[in-house]
């Protein structure tokens, strides 16, 4: 099994190299003039030439690519024409915020979706089932950004129980950075008050992100559970006197997880790539906003950088999910 993990980890490298090549080619093929935009409307040809030199844009393409590739390995991910800062630094600044949001949304979706799926399968056609199926239908169709807006109106404006936007109030100082996740850092520092504030700010954006995956996970879990409940071995477990609770939450749960894992895997890309929609609504300073700003100013390096980071996270997550398949179904293990 160790071989499998190592092989997959090693495979990530050529994939990333291929990715950088593809992204580089796409970036250079597309029309656009970042230097012109950065230099401004009153730019002189000398300024433009100087900027071009500064950002290596005067070299032939293959050399640009090679410089970039070797730079990547040294932590030099290029410069952002817009922020005038190294892309690597920018990413390090914005990544924790996005990760905190994505992980929170993921946890909500999984921790609520799986049990609800189980229960609605057992109590089929009951009130809970109809309610949840309606929520599921609506949840998948609801755009994240609209939901975020509605949540803001409802909970921040009308009810005033949760903050409107941002990660932390501007007048206060966030907890000391250990992980970059305000919630975790607050816990590490033992600061309960800070934890509550960070959590309150995290709540609405996380829910806005979580509803769609929650709905799909719940539906998939329900379908899988219904199928499992019809299996012979469940009858045997009942015939041998095991309690319904034990059968459901220990045995049936594990049997039904495999299909749900697939659905979870499909949402990873959706979650990672779409944070900008929620970050915009809640002024959440994350990678999504950074990348979008770079896109709007035709700034290639940050876009490539962000895409690479997301790709790495995506590939690692897929590896974990593939391993989890083995946990839930011994027949596919890599012994």
């Amino acid at each position: 099994m160790l071989f499998f993990v190592l092989r997959r980890l090693l495979l990530i490298i050529p994939i990333l190299i291929g990715l950088t090549l593809l992204l580089f080619v796409i970036a250079r093929l597309l029309p656009g003039d970042p230097v012109g935009l950065a230099a401004g409307p009153n730019a002189t040809p000398e300024l433009i030439a100087q900027l071009k030199r500064q950002f290596n844009l005067d070299q032939p393409l293959p050399i640009q690519y090679w410089t970039y590739l070797t730079g990547l390995l040294h932590g030099d991910w290029g410069m952002s024409v817009f922020t005038r800062r190294p892309v690597f630094e920018d990413i390090l600044t914005y990544l924790p915020a996005t990760l905190e949001l994505v992980i929170a949304a993921f946890l909500i979706a999984v921790l609520a979706g799986i049990p609800l799926g189980l229960l609605t399968a057992v109590y089929r056609n009951g009130i809970l089932d109809y309610l949840m199926r309606s929520v599921a239908l609506g949840g998948i169709a609801m755009p994240r950004f609209f939901l975020g807006l509605l949540l803001q109106i409802a909970f921040a404006a009308w009810l005033d129980i949760l903050p409107l936007s941002g990660r932390y109030p501007l007048i206060e100082t966030p907890p000391d950075t250990v992980t970059g996740f305000y919630t975790i850092d607050a816990l590490i520092a033992g600061d309960w008050y800070a934890f509550q504030i960070a959590l309150a700010h995290l709540a609405l954006p996380a829910i806005a992100m979580a509803l769609s995956p929650l709905a799909t996970i719940m539906r998939m879990m329900r379908a899988a559970t219904i199928e499992v409940l019809q299996q012979d071995y469940v009858m045997t477990e009942r015939a041998l006197g095991l309690s319904s609770r034990l059968i459901l939450f220990k045995y049936v749960l594990k049997n039904a997880m495999t299909s749900t894992l697939t659905v979870i895997g499909l949402y990873v890309s959706w979650l990672l790539g779409g944070t900008v929609l929620v970050e915009t609504v809640f002024d959440w300073p994350g990678l999504g906003l950074y990348a979008t700003q770079a896109i709007l100013t035709q700034d290639f390096m940050p876009v490539i950088g962000v895409t690479l980071v997301i790709a790495i996270i995506y590939l690692l997550t897929m590896l974990i999910i593939d391993l989890l398949y083995g946990v839930f179904n011994p027949k596919v293990r890599y012994a």
């Binding site: 755009p143 950004f145 807006l149 803001q152 109106i153 219904i226 790539g273 896109i295 790709a311």
Partner: protein, 299 residues
Amino acid sequence: MTTEVPVAHLKRNQSARLENWSRAFYRFRQSWLSMIGLALVVVLILIAAFAPFIVPHPEQVQGATNTAARFQPPSADAWFGTNALGQDMFSLVVAGSQVSLFSGLSVVVIAVVVGTAVGAVAGYFGGWIDEILMRLTDLLLTIPSLILAMAVAAALGAGVLNMIIAISLTWWPVYARLVRGEVIGKKEEQFIVAARALGANWLRILCRHILPNIVSPIVIKASLDVGFAILTVASLGFVGIGVKPPTPEWGTLLSGARSYMPGYWWTAVAPGMAIFIAVLAFNLLGDGLRDVLDPKARR
């Protein structure tokens, strides 16, 4: 002398495939949610098609303003109220349906065509063609689709067509994978071997024999995807990429309305609900089609 022998005739001169489809539609009718989806989709398409004739204020759709009537709440005159420029939200939203629906459907159609072509060729020929095409497909799948779509759309410039191209670019890989898998599955079946023995070339085999047999999963996925394509179009609009004002688009309308929350809620709720209902309608329709066409989903 010959006697007349009674011969049995088919009541309806229907091919087996057509009968399959009509039976499938009968099953489809059983689910009222699916019928609602179908009805909504038809209504939406009609609205989008005849939008220029239905809107009460076509001039405002083109960009005319009416600052005297800013921020009117929903009333008998303006069903969805008016926005910051005094424009009738109902007109804007209805007009916006043209962009959203047309774009969404186009994206899926292009993705299906391109993806099927790539996947079919890769699956049928195998070997290094398959390797190269699938490596490319996998790479594209590793890139987060929204970011790629945004980047390409922004670089190509504003406009509906550019946006459709950009989103389609990120959408076709999934179809390529799907079709490749199906083609590989069908490739070794007896009737294909027979066709090859009869001298059919690869194009004929693919188009005439294999593709008609793998229509089901493609149709199912496509119908479920239209809703999400519309969502992606709106997402791009929300972020400010794609269509430029005054062309109304649900995402851009929603984005513009953000500054006026929560007081003038109708400026956001109208386009937001439009997106929601459109996506819901196509999802219900897609679910219904899947329940009827997917042999694995028979309950």
